[in-house]
């Protein structure tokens, strides 16, 4: 009879399936995830049945936080660079190369043009806490006497139109014959308002009125989606 030998030393476990699984999950998360951007402000958004995707290519975003402060952001490195340069020229604010680079890199900004060089020299954490305790701080000034938000939106809109057009032509040229033609509407600037649930509506209204003053009447509100209610 053959004797069954008990193996000596520590037993070894075959880890191959575990590794397989781990890397499968890693691959899934890498491909499916979009990274959380480091916004200087976090807002809790209201919910609605709106089911449109947030536009990613040509986005002009105005954020209103809980305290009614206004922040501005837009997509596209080229656009951001041109917008900030024009703003600096208009308000005669000297911005260094580094400031402009930093502006292009980050997302939203929320300060007046005079404060911009100082704001841009802060790090992400510093921007988050920028004048946080100051109850009179309004973010980007947007009252009718001194409306910087209007200029931000206006410059962003103009640059975005050019940029979107260029992108549309480039991507259309790349497309094969069999594919559905791209829609030029998708490359027009989209105006998105991200307003905190608890923000006073009056503040949001100032932002809305600013858009409307520029004759930009199609606005989108960022909301988290809730299940569509069924109307009987």
């Amino acid at each position: 009879m053959a004797e069954i030998k008990t193996p000596k030393g520590s037993p070894s476990i075959d880890m191959t399936p575990m590794v397989d699984l781990a890397f499968l999950l890693v691959t899934f998360f890498m491909l499916a995830a979009t990274f959380r951007t480091d916004e200087p402000v976090e807002v809790s958004i209201p919910s609605s049945i709106g089911d449109k995707e947030i536009p990613e290519k040509t986005l002009v975003l105005v954020t209103v936080d809980k305290g009614g402060r206004i922040f501005f952001s837009c997509t596209g490195e080229e656009v951001r660079k041109k917008v900030v340069t024009q703003m600096a020229a208009k308000y005669k604010v000297p911005l260094s190369e580094d400031n402009i680079k930093e502006f292009v890199r980050i997302t939203s900004i929320g300060c007046s043009m005079g404060e911009l060089p100082q704001y841009l020299s802060l790090d992400g954490e510093g921007r988050k806490n920028y004048r946080k305790q100051d109850a009179n701080f309004v973010g980007i000034p947007s009252d009718s006497m001194h409306n910087e938000l209007k200029d931000w939106i206006n410059f962003a809109n103009r640059e975005m139109l050019d940029y979107g057009k260029k992108m549309f032509e480039e991507e259309s040229a790349k497309q094969g014959k069999g594919q559905a033609p791209l829609k030029p509407e998708d490359y027009k600037p989209k105006f998105v308002l991200k307003a905190a649930m608890d923000a006073e509506y009056v503040r949001v209204k100032t932002a809305i009125e600013t858009f409307r003053d520029l004759n930009l009447n199609n606005l989108n509100f960022v909301t988290s989606q809730e299940a569509a209610a069924v109307v009987k």
Partner: protein
Amino acid sequence: MAELAQDDGGGKKGGKKRPKKGPARIDMTPMVDLGFLLLTFFVLTSTFAKPKVMSLAYPAKEPTDEPKKDDNKINNAITFIVSDDRVFYYKGEFYPEGNAKGKPATQLTETNFGPDGIRKLLIEENKFVLNKKVELDAKFQKKQIADSTRTNLLNEAKRDNKALKVLVKTDMKAKTRNFIDVIDELYIASVGVIAPVDIMNSEQALLDEALKK
């Protein structure tokens, strides 16, 4: 812990070293570590629930030198007045106390953001469009009409004279979520004509009165 294959009980012939038989085992522990490290990183940094947007088309601002359009011609309208977590409405035109036309003065009725409040009211008032929608959906289900035709016909119904028009006014104390909630309910009830407008002084006075109650 995973280990390299152990020696199988010493050599049989003297001290001669022989290449091992069978496949060589590799210690996978560092690889597993790395795998899970990456996994943790991606899980923590990623966002999945992408926020959606709800679009709202505002009417174009009229140039101030042009006379204001008389919007009192609307025959089926509701005006919502939103304050801090409270919502009031009145139907039809606004009549101040002792108006020239001799109509009774407008009274505000309070409602709520729940399903028994605004939603019930809007479904009741906007039956014309909702019935049309059910009809069109049924036709679409039976493949009698195309999806684009359905959308077009529904939009036409929404602009019809019989369809409900809604004005949304807010006072100084209104919160953003109140406004969004109202607009959301309007979309649920397929209201096509939505006009967010400024509150009138006379309405504000009425609202102040109602808020005290």
